[in-house]
Symmetry: C2
Subunit: 245 residues, 2 copies
């Protein structure tokens, strides 16, 4: 009998923001796969490093970190073959995913290759967007607000139209688009409502009004949030600022 | 010294989809508050019932369950006074919130009243939207998709415009708007891509193509998702259907 494939969201970064279900699956796993950069540590693995045992088989899925470029299909083809060997041998395989597996998550590239042939379960995780709201003290959305999630690489005209049309928004994958997006929000008179967030929930987290974030670019795991709502208690200027740089 | 106020997301419903942080805070708490209906059990409390002890002080925040009506400010004024008495006595107070506190969460009504005067921490939770994607096997968003979160009570013309303009969407708070929204999606030729989800992650969860959900109305904790993406592996017709009715 084949093993089962699990896509497990491990949350935004803090080890105690994984779920009890993720913890149970990871501590009990025989085989654990995770995305890893070509140099340096796997972020997903680092979140759960405290749960791992030496007798577990680890499968790093080494994804070249070229910015904004979809990683070669070959990487996921090879990783999937590796995972399949374990599934066929009757071993369950846990694939770790930063945040949530089905919210812009890398697990989808494994899922699309294997979910037709193997029993598969997705374990949702705490997303960086909810964590960003929690650490900044400013909600994502309330009551009948419309919330729009926008990838930062979208062109200016599309961003402009969608930003103007919504009550609240999160711009994901800010990265090298930081300066362009900041300039755009300034033109749209929204800079004073925009929050910059980086590596939320981690020790090196940075949160600040976007106007104060003057770098040209940002890490991949960064985002910008805007809540346009008229709630009187929401005051961007009073937000908690953390900056460990 | 005053106690600290915590807004703790307890996730979509399954007791093991709370975070380790939530578990630690709840099991260690002296005082726990939660929204409760005027008759029947508190959903938020039921999620963590297995963690509670008899010596903990519980504060039900009884919110009359009139559909779509914002509960009287008086309920939260009184609950906040009750919470303040404990904070002033130096006791921390945990306020439970279904899903995530800052994603359409009821905790905001306590937060807006007390966050200026007391030390406050928000603990993010697993959201029903990520859980809905996990249980249906269909992603929320990938790559450069735009994802729009829409409250079901919005009028038809606004829903139409926003549904047409996005790559992926979740309609929250479907409730008594079910039939209207289903008719609208049918007119927009999107019914075959729409998923209906109810009480995700719980034993009584229901997930099915919206076309198969012929009821006139739905519970408050229900949603509709549409992923328009052209990923060949996404096939609404093949989705797992659970229906415990």
């Amino acid at each position: 009998m084949s093993g089962k494939l699990y896509g497990v969201g491990v949350g935004p970064g803090a080890p105690d923001l994984i779920t009890l279900r993720a913890w149970r699956l990871i501590t009990g796993a025989q085989v654990i796969a995770y995305p890893a950069p070509d140099s340096g540590q796997s972020f997903a693995r680092s979140i759960v490093a405290g749960c791992l045992r030496k007798d577990q088989i680890e499968i790093p899925i080494v994804v070249p970190m070229r910015v904004e470029r979809f990683p070669a299909a070959q990487v996921y083809d090879e990783a999937s073959e590796n995972i399949v060997a374990h599934l066929d041998a009757g071993r369950d395989v846990i694939v770790l995913c930063e945040g949530d597996p089905f919210f812009y998550g890398s697990f989808m590239y494994v899922y699309e290759r294997l979910s037709d042939k193997y029993d598969c379960e997705v374990v949702p995780g705490v997303s960086s967007i909810m964590t960003g709201a929690a650490v900044s003290g400013i909600p994502l959305a309330a009551r009948n607000d419309v919330l729009t999630i926008l990838p930062g690489p979208l062109p200016d005209d599309e961003l402009t139209e969608r930003i103007n049309a919504t009550d609240a928004l999160v711009i994901m994958k800010v990265g090298r688009h930081l300066k362009r997006i900041r300039d755009l929000l300034n033109e749209l008179n929204l800079l004073d409502k925009a929050i910059y967030l980086e590596r939320v929930s981690l020790g090196e987290q940075r949160t600040m009004p976007l106007a104060d974030m003057t770098d040209e670019s940002a890490p991949y795991f960064s985002m910008i949030t805007i809540y346009k709502g008229a709630e009187p208690w929401i005051d961007t200027a009073k937000m908690n600022v953390t900056n460990h740089d």
